[in-house]
Each structure stands twice: as structure tokens, then as C-alpha cells.
């Protein structure tokens, strides 16, 4: 892992990887959305509302996956002092928050016709809203310190502490009576019929690749900015 501690070596891989992630991701998202919107059958109960799932599920997965990434980056930063870990954490925060917001929004739009309400303080919804606020807190904390490319140690600690919300979100529908339905896709299989389920695969993978591409872009932009700053400082000194 420390082979990539050198930003130049990281950039050598990140540069060609970015367009691949974005291109393939975009293609898969478009494919999954087209199939999900036009070709799959409606649900027997929800009708066409079921199609919001093809956006909602990837958004939920990336909102939670984003924070898991932040938590891992935080541990790597605190324990191994890896110079890119903080850069990655900072880069993940904004897209993670965006997807969490998309998840809450699409869920609300789905909830109105299905449950009969836009919002209820149910365990799943509340813990997901808390995740959004955790992202805001992380971003505020990251910008509160002098660190511009990486994040401060306090921010990294916050990233680890906030990770406790991830299993809570995941288990909220199992531990507590909730309005949100239980997990459809578990290790034992799926309770979503396969002809409705399958476009979810390309949209989940596609949005994940897009997410990865955006994170790589943000990391590269941050590193480039640090480089410019260092060069300006050197020019001013000479």
C-alpha cells in the first residue's frame, strides 16, 4: 500500500482510471435506467412507482459505502499515516453526502404514493438523515482546519466515530418495528422477483463506478492544487 504513498505514482494510475470509471459507469447507468424505466414490468402493488428503486438503492448503497470508505481512510490515516488517506476521505465526503440526499429524496417521493406520507420519524429514515448530517459535520470539520489537501486528525477521528451509524442504518429495519420494509436482498437471496431486480445490478455498479470516478477526480484536483500552492511558495521565496 505504501508504494502509492508517493502521489506521483498514485496519479500515474488515477489519471487513466478516471475516464474508464466515468465512461463505463455512465454507460451502465444509462443502460440500467433505460431497462428499468421502459422494459421491466411494474410491481403488482406499487405499479410504476417501483422503478424509483433503480436510483434509490444505489444512492443508499453509496451513501453508506461512502462513509465506510471515510472510516477506512480515517483508520489508515491515523494508524499508518498514509499521506493519501486524508486526501481520499476529503474527496469522498461531498459525493457521499449527495447520494445520501438523493436516497432521502427518492425515498420520500416513493413514500408518498406507497405509504401515504412524505416523511415519518421511522428508524431507517431517521438514521439515514443522521448520516446526511454526519457528512455535513465531516465537511465542516475538514474545512475548519488549515489542512487543505488532507484532513485534520480530529476529522479522521470523527470519521471513525460516525461509522457506528452504518450498522445502525443497516439493522434499523430488523431491530425495530419500522415503516420502511425489511431488507429485500439478503445473503439468503432476494425477495424481489428477478425480472424486476436485474436492472438494479447495472445501476448499482454504474453509479459506484461514477462515484469512484468523481472521487479520483477530486483527489487529483486536490493534489494538483497542493502542487500549485507549493510551487507558488517556492517562487515567492526565491
Amino acid at each position: 500500500m505504501h508504494a502509492y504513498a508517493n502521489p506521483a505514482r498514485f496519479l500515474k494510475i488515477a489519471r487513466p482510471l478516471t475516464p474508464v470509471c466515468v465512461g463505463v459507469g455512465l454507460l451502465l447507468v444509462l443502460l440500467g435506467s433505460y431497462v428499468g424505466l421502459f422494459l421491466t414490468p411494474p410491481d403488482y402493488l406499487q405499479g410504476d412507482t417501483v422503478r424509483i428503486m433503480y436510483i434509490h438503492v444505489p444512492a443508499a448503497w453509496l451513501g453508506m459505502g461512502g462513509w465506510t470508505g471515510i472510516a477506512i481512510a480515517s483508520i489508515v490515516q491515523l494508524v499508518w499515516r498514509h499521506p493519501l488517506a486524508g486526501v481520499a476521505g476529503r474527496a469522498i465526503a461531498a459525493p457521499g453526502a449527495l447520494f445520501t440526499a438523493i436516497c432521502l429524496l427518492t425515498g420520500s417521493i416513493w413514500g408518498r404514493p406507497t405509504w401515504g406520507t412524505w416523511w415519518e420519524w421511522d428508524g431507517r429514515m431517521t438514521s439515514m438523515l443522521v448520516l446526511l448530517f454526519l457528512y455535513f459535520g465531516y465537511m465542516a470539520l475538514a474545512n475548519a482546519s488549515d489542512e487543505r489537501t488532507t484532513v485534520s486528525r480530529a476529522t479522521a477521528i470523527f470519521g471513525i466515530v460516525g461509522a457506528i451509524n452504518i450498522p445502525i442504518i443497516n439493522r434499523s429495519v430488523v431491530w425495530w418495528n419500522s415503516l420502511h420494509q425489511g431488507p429485500s436482498i439478503t445473503l439468503r437471496g432476494s425477495s424481489i422477483s428477478s425480472e424486476i431486480l436485474w436492472p438494479l445490478l447495472p445501476t448499482v455498479i454504474g453509479f459506484s463506478l461514477l462515484f469512484g470516478g468523481v472521487v479520483l477526480m477530486r483527489m487529483r484536483a486536490n493534489l494538483a492544487e497542493a502542487k500549485v500552492e507549493a510551487r507558488m511558495r517556492r517562487m515567492a521565496a526565491s
Binding site: P41, L45, G116, W121, I164, P167, L179, I196
Partner: protein, 144 residues
Amino acid sequence: MKAKKQRLILALLGLGAVVGAGLLAASGLKTEASFFFAPGDVAGIDLPLGKAVRLGGMVADKSIRHDADGVTIHFVVEDGKAKVPVVFKGIAPDLFKENSGVVAEGEFRADGSFVASNLLAKHDERYMPPELDGKMHKTGSLKS
């Protein structure tokens, strides 16, 4: 090397403490964080009379009965352990039907029945096309 190991142990201890605290809090919140009472939850205890609560469960088979006024609905909510008769006056959501999940907002009456002021339909985790309706699964409970 030693400092690195120390930091690793410290980070793991910290992570363990946070996870432990979270799990303790979650189990402590077991009843408070629940969105609704299931009929089985209130079967043994004193009914929370005069308090706004939610009652959730399955709408029992062939239990929906409409009054002559057209807006009053009687039905029974069950969870496999107990049954609670519910009366509701108003417009029910589209997905409200028998053998399907419901969350009723309202309050209990002393005789054990429930007066609902609002109904929410609870969708379960099964999704299927119309031609498979009821053929693939039979809804029996709120949880898989």
C-alpha cells in the same frame, strides 16, 4: 514500528468502544425507537390509553367492513400473536388492503380496540410483476 502498533491498538480499542456504545444504545432503545406497537406488543401490558400511538401489523383476511356512511372502515390488525379491532374514518391509502401491512395512527380505547385518525400502508420487501401476484409468495407476517 512500535509507535505504529500502539496507534493500531489504540484505534482498534476506540473502534470497539464506539461499536459497543452504539450497540448498547440501540438495544436500550429497543421499544422507544420502534415506529409502532404490534398487536402482540400490547397484548400483555396495560394499554397506553389516551396517548397518541401507532399500531402496526397485517390487515386480517376478510376483516375490512365499510359502514353505510361510506367513510368509516372497520378492520382487524394482527401479527400472529394477537388481534386488535380498528375503526378508521377517512380516506385510506391505495395500498391499504387485506393481507397487507398497515400502520394506524390513533389511540387505544379501554375495551382494547383502536381508533385510528390516519392510516399508512406498509409495503413489504417483496416485489413482483402483476402476473405473479399471490402465486409466488403468501404474505403471512410483517418480517421475513
